[in-house]
């Protein structure tokens, strides 16, 4: 139902320990953000794309499609940073003046934007590496090990499971609404949508009580304790992480 999620359960890096993948991604993301050169993000992008396509075996088109998701935000924000409006026409690198207002681009803003573009894409590729190779249930286990408050990981377990349950219900309701000419005008859209939401919300209340009862039947004691299948720890993987990260960190330090 959610493409990224399906790949997380169906890729060649699935059985790699989630802590190793998380560490790799977090380190690389940090290095990418802290870089002052445009080379680091490019290397990061290449490493992650290689990992996703060659190591994990995710189709290239999937990655390309994902890379375009944040593009809208990126473009709008970059244009906002690049262009400025001023009554003072000096300092512009490229400009057009109308009625005393100057709209144009200043060079430092342009450099900021270019930097930002690469850095964001580099970081996003790290996010996708994690999302495409690691089932969320395993990431939650990592958070648990990191001493994130128990109530947060418990809620994450429940939310993750019921996202799919409610998504299915929402899809079924929408289909029924479309079948009865829902969403054919603005009026009908508001009517359809508000009923969809309130019907779903009604189910939230009923289903949560049902779930509580069925969990109580399995001796729920107030804490949602679960066991996760153990993944093998690989020292080789830690070595690989070190081999990738150390040169990147050095590159960042030297290029100042």
């Amino acid at each position: 139902m959610i493409a990224v999620d399906s790949y997380a359960y169906n890729n060649n890096l699935k059985s790699v320990h989630p802590a190793e993948k998380s560490l790799f991604v977090m380190l690389t993301m940090g290095v990418c953000l802290a870089s002052s050169t445009m080379i680091t993000p490019l290397i990061v992008l290449a490493v992650m794309a290689g990992g996703i396509i060659l190591k994990a075996g995710i189709p290239t088109r999937v990655l390309i499609k994902l890379m375009t998701v944040p593009l809208a935000f990126l473009l709008i924000s970059m244009l906002t940073i690049v262009f400025s409006v001023s009554t003072n026409s000096s300092g512009f690198w490229l400009a057009q003046t109308y009625n005393g207002f100057t709209i144009g681009i200043r060079y430092p803003d342009l450099m900021t934007a270019a930097n930002l573009f690469l850095r964001s894409l580099g970081a996003v590729s790290c996010l996708y590496f994690l999302a495409l190779t690691t089932p969320l249930t395993e990431l939650i286990t990592v958070l648990h090990k990191l001493k994130v408050p128990f109530i947060i990981t418990e809620l994450m377990v429940l939310i993750y499971r019921f996202i799919f349950v409610f998504m299915e219900t929402a899809t079924a309701i929408r289909r029924a609404q479309y079948s009865r000419s829902g969403y054919i005008s603005v009026n009908s859209s508001f009517r359809s949508m508000s009923r969809l939401f309130s019907a779903l919300l009604g189910k939230v209340f009923v289903k949560s009580q049902d779930l509580y009862n069925s969990m109580a039947a399995r001796c729920y004691t107030g804490e949602i304790k679960v066991l996760t299948k153990k993944r093998p720890v690989s020292f080789k993987n830690y070595f690989i992480i070190a081999v990738i990260e150390i040169p990147l960190i050095l590159l960042n330090l030297l290029w100042r």
Binding site: M29, I81, G91, Y212, Y220
Partner: protein
């Protein structure tokens, strides 16, 4: 004079049109994407977020010890918020977008619980839908899980105290909760990327100018929708 005025209007229309064309249907684009904030800003917003999350965790823990079934309710409410944000809502301008659910959630579950729920939902949006990010989680949680809910809550309680009708309180709470979320996002972006001329203020104004255009109709739509949902719920 007339000529100059029409030129102004022409410019304004071009500007508005171009934004509507560039802006995609979905206002997911409103979460700050992964890697967009520089390291220091990303870290700062994480640090700002943490005390609020701790407060939220404490308040949830307290209610859950009293009513153990509320944990399941909150879990499902979080799932609902995610599903809601993944659906397109109609807008008064005819285009469509995604609701934040901030007003609805705050009125039902209170602002502190919403901080924790929003944070988790934002994590899932980042990992499942590629909207928002991990490094920008602090910033996004601050706007959607802290500012939004507290504004909604304040507006709702305030208007009720003043004797405003229920629908108006709900409408204003949802609309302003949505709007202030994006005002906060604009401020966060402006702070991180001051303009070469005019600095932080100019940058914030630029971001506000762009986002206001698309966001005001959407905020109103979310307000209307929230009122309609509450009308149906109260009929139950």
């Amino acid at each position: 004079m007339f000529l100059r005025k029409s030129k102004h209007i022409g410019l304004l229309i071009t500007y508005v049109m171009s934004i509507y064309i560039i802006f995609p249907d979905d206002a997911y684009a409103m979460h700050i994407m992964e890697g967009f904030l520089p390291f220091n800003w990303a870290a700062l917003w994480w640090i700002v977020m943490i005390p609020f999350v701790i407060a939220g965790v404490r308040s949830i823990k307290k209610t859950v010890t009293l009513h153990p079934n509320l944990k399941m309710l909150l879990g499902m409410a979080g799932a609902f918020a995610f599903v809601m944000s993944a659906l397109k809502i109609p807008s008064v301008t005819g285009s469509s977008s995604h609701p934040t659910g901030v007003g609805l959630g705050t009125i039902l579950f209170g602002p502190t619980a919403m901080t924790v729920l929003s944070m988790i939902v934002l994590v899932f949006q980042a990992l499942l839908l590629a909207h928002g990010g991990i490094t920008t989680l602090g910033a996004n949680t601050f706007s959607m899980g802290i500012v939004g809910p507290f504004v909604s809550y304040g507006v709702y309680k305030g208007l009720k105290k003043l004797g405003a009708p229920q629908w108006l309180s709900i409408f204003m709470a949802a609309t302003l909760g949505n709007l202030m979320t994006y005002v906060t996002t604009s401020i966060q972006l402006g702070l991180a990327f001051p303009a070469a001329a005019g600095g932080v203020t100019a940058a914030i104004l630029k971001f506000l100018g762009i986002f206001a255009l698309t966001q005001i109709p959407l905020a109103i739509s979310e307000g209307l929708l929230t009122v309609m949902v509450f009308n149906i719920l109260s009929a139950y």
